[in-house]
Symmetry: C2
Subunit: 313 residues, 2 copies
Amino acid sequence: MSMPRLVVLTLSLALACSVHAATKPSARRAPAKPLSMQELLDTSRPSDWRRLDPQNTLLLELADGHRVVIELAPSFAPAHVANIRTLAHEGYWNGLSINRSQDNFVVQWGDAEENAARRRPLGTAKAKLPAEFAFRRGNAGTFDWARLPDADGWAPQVGFLGGFPAGHDPKSGTYWMAHCYGAVGAGRNNEADSSDGSELYVVTGQSPRQLDRNMSMVGRVVQGMEWLSTIPRGTGPLGFFEKPEQRVVIRSLRLAADVPAAERPAIEVLRTGTPRFAQLVEARRNRRDEFYKVQAHHIDLCNVPLPVRDIKP
Amino acid sequence: MSMPRLVVLTLSLALACSVHAATKPSARRAPAKPLSMQELLDTSRPSDWRRLDPQNTLLLELADGHRVVIELAPSFAPAHVANIRTLAHEGYWNGLSINRSQDNFVVQWGDAEENAARRRPLGTAKAKLPAEFAFRRGNAGTFDWARLPDADGWAPQVGFLGGFPAGHDPKSGTYWMAHCYGAVGAGRNNEADSSDGSELYVVTGQSPRQLDRNMSMVGRVVQGMEWLSTIPRGTGPLGFFEKPEQRVVIRSLRLAADVPAAERPAIEVLRTGTPRFAQLVEARRNRRDEFYKVQAHHIDLCNVPLPVRDIKP
């Protein structure tokens, strides 16, 4: 008697997937069946993808040599992003550490020194920044707001703005970055304007969207989330490490523009706000493959994959 | 000049928190300000908590000695839970391994053997089970359906049923477990009835609720999620480990009823479907502490914490 082999291959979600498929021209035939996400990526055009701007890309290198790539979001938090660029340029984080890893919530890095007098100076970066929790759209033409078709419990509208998951309130005209998996925010004290961008956290669990509009959000991890999400959890309050040797040392945190071109990540990300992206969202709202017996007719903002692929040399 | 110390203590979410506060009788005064989650737990009564049933509790012990506690959900998938009890009782998983860890999705364990002839026999467990994706409520009196007040994009209603996050369709009268962080499901092939409970997965990322009503869900991790969520990610397709030595060996997976009482977890979980739980949900829908500048007036099903605490000896 043969035993069934439960391969469960079709549990695939491929969030934050790295896509290595060749870029082929779009097929002209009208398919009888909607294309799957993989088919949409396989038939995408070069113009469906964009490269990261080295001025908006952070390279976080951990002590073990693993690298995390972060795209900064100056549209959402211009003052914070400018400060972070300065801090990275001046090597502020090099040799500091990830000091907190709280299960199903965040990792967080910065200066672990408790004594204010011994904390690392911020260099030419600003010590005081405004709160940048949400912003008003200045010029409709410069934005590619890709609104999701479904309702969201946390915001009047949700969608993607220049590649970042975001909430939107049409009444106030404001946008804000959503706390999805991989979102990067600036830690602060109780005062809204108490963040300076030197202490950063990354969401590593179920999206804590109650923090939306409460934090200055500065970017998103586009590659290497697995090196942050698997950091052992801290056993102190809020997941802070209790012993200094448990901290994860940051070898360097640099702006891509400050490293030689050959060391920059050779990746590109799928553009949001395009017909191809809208098709991808629809392919994920309703899975048409044989595995799914019930289709959701829905997708939550933080479940939408944002594909990344290697640039072919 | 003193430097600001960004402690960011108030980023606390304390999902799946372990609560060690003393149990005090409820205060009689009507508080001017709603109580925080911690205050609600601190003033809870012993009857607000319940112990796990050893017949419905799985103890997963990994090679490094770390323990994961799973509460089984026979209301949701009675045939699967019965089979899992048999498999655990007969030691089916002992010495097998976690074979998959896909970032922001799931870990999964079972028999990694590809050759059907060499796979471990199921013993007296059944090789064939019905699909148990959703169920109809038989007797209203036996259920404590704690409906959440907010809208949900994936289900007509959401709430908690006997401690498990669930969706509900009043039209069909059906309930199903939601794929929240820590949810445990039975892997299957494309056929709906192709799971036998021997291959189990646990959600370790953003809730993949498109799988709701597509899988037989068997329980929920109540303690030890951090030992599963930090397993290094597999680099093969779907996060399967490429080399056998990368698999995480399961020392044992036992039913709590099969181990001596002293070895069972000395924990209890907050009851859902009680006034105290409803207050806790409201305390998380709108955070009243100084840190929050904007309140959400909302909570998603998978953001509701399900507190666990040690039983005082």
